[in-house]
C-alpha cells in the first residue's frame, strides 16, 4: 500500500479538525456571553447537581467488574476456534466444550462463594435483626 492511498484519510482528518476549530471559534465570537452561576454548573440532564460527581466507588464494584472482565475476555478463544472450526473438527469442538465447562465451573464457584451477592450488609442485617423480630412478633 503506497503512502498516497492514505490521502483521503488525511484530507478527512484535516476537514474534521478545521470544522471543529471553526465552529468553536465562531460560537465564541458570535454568541452572547452572559454567565450566571446556574449556567456555569455542569449540565446533568437539566437537574440541579446534588453532589460532586467524583466519588469513591464501593470496593464491591471491583469484584463484579473483575469477574466481568475475565469472563468477557476468555470468550475471545471461541473466536479463534470459530475461524478454524472445520479444520479442527471434533477434537476441537470437544476442547472448546471443555473450555466452556471450565468457565461455567468458575462462575458456579464464584456464585456459591458469594462473590455475586451485592447486598451483603443488608442480608446480614436481615439475618441478625429483622428475622428474629419477625419471629418474636409471630
Amino acid at each position: 500500500m503506497a503512502l498516497v492511498d492514505y490521502l483521503p484519510i488525511a484530507i478527512m482528518f484535516a476537514l474534521a479538525l478545521v470544522f471543529a476549530v471553526v465552529s468553536l471559534l465562531l460560537s465564541r465570537l458570535i454568541a452572547p456571553h452572559d454567565p450566571t452561576p446556574e449556567k456555569l454548573e455542569p449540565y446533568e440532564c437539566g437537574i440541579v447537581p446534588l453532589q460532586d460527581p467524583v466519588q469513591r466507588f464501593p470496593v464491591r464494584f471491583y469484584l463484579v467488574a473483575m469477574l466481568f472482565v475475565i469472563f468477557d475476555i476468555e470468550i475471545v478463544f471461541l473466536f479463534a476456534w470459530a475461524v478454524q472450526f472445520e479444520a479442527l473438527g471434533w477434537p476441537g469442538t470437544i476442547a472448546v466444550g471443555v473450555f466452556t465447562l471450565l468457565l461455567v465451573e468458575t462462575l458456579v464457584y464464584a456464585w456459591r462463594r458469594g462473590a455475586l451477592d451485592w447486598n451483603i450488609p443488608h442480608r446480614e442485617r436481615y439475618r441478625r435483626v429483622v428475622a428474629p423480630e419477625i419471629e418474636e412478633a409471630a
Partner: protein
C-alpha cells in the same frame, strides 16, 4: 510492507511502560505501565505476523492469548492491591518496607 515503523512504535511504547514501572509510586499505575508493555508486544506480534506471512496466523493468535493472560494478571494484581489497601490504607509501593535487605 514496512515493518520498521511498527518495530519503532512497539519499542517506544515498551520503553514508556518500563519508565512507568520504574518511576510510578502507586501500585495501580505500575500495573497500568505493565499493561502498556504487554500492549507494545501485541503490536509487535501482529505486525511481525503480517510481515512474515505465516499461514497459521501465529502472531495474531498469540496476541489473543496475551490479551487474555493480561486480563487474568490484572485481575490478580488488582486483588492484591485491594488487599494491600485494606491492610494499610495506602497503595503506595514505597511504603512496602516491612522487609529490607
Amino acid at each position: 510492507m514496512i515493518v520498521n515503523q511498527f518495530l519503532v512504535l512497539g519499542a517506544l511504547l515498551f520503553s514508556i511502560g518500563v519508565y512507568g514501572v520504574l518511576v510510578r509510586r502507586n501500585a495501580v499505575l505500575v500495573l497500568l505501565s505493565i499493561e502498556l508493555m504487554l500492549a507494545a508486544v501485541n503490536i509487535n506480534l501482529v505486525a511481525f505476523g503480517a510481515f512474515v506471512d505465516d499461514a497459521a496466523a501465529a502472531g495474531q493468535v498469540f496476541a489473543l492469548f496475551v490479551i487474555t493472560v493480561a486480563a487474568a494478571e490484572v485481575g490478580i494484581g488488582l486483588a492484591i492491591v485491594v488487599l494491600i489497601f485494606r491492610n494499610r490504607s495506602s497503595a503506595n509501593v514505597d511504603e512496602l518496607d516491612l522487609m529490607k535487605w
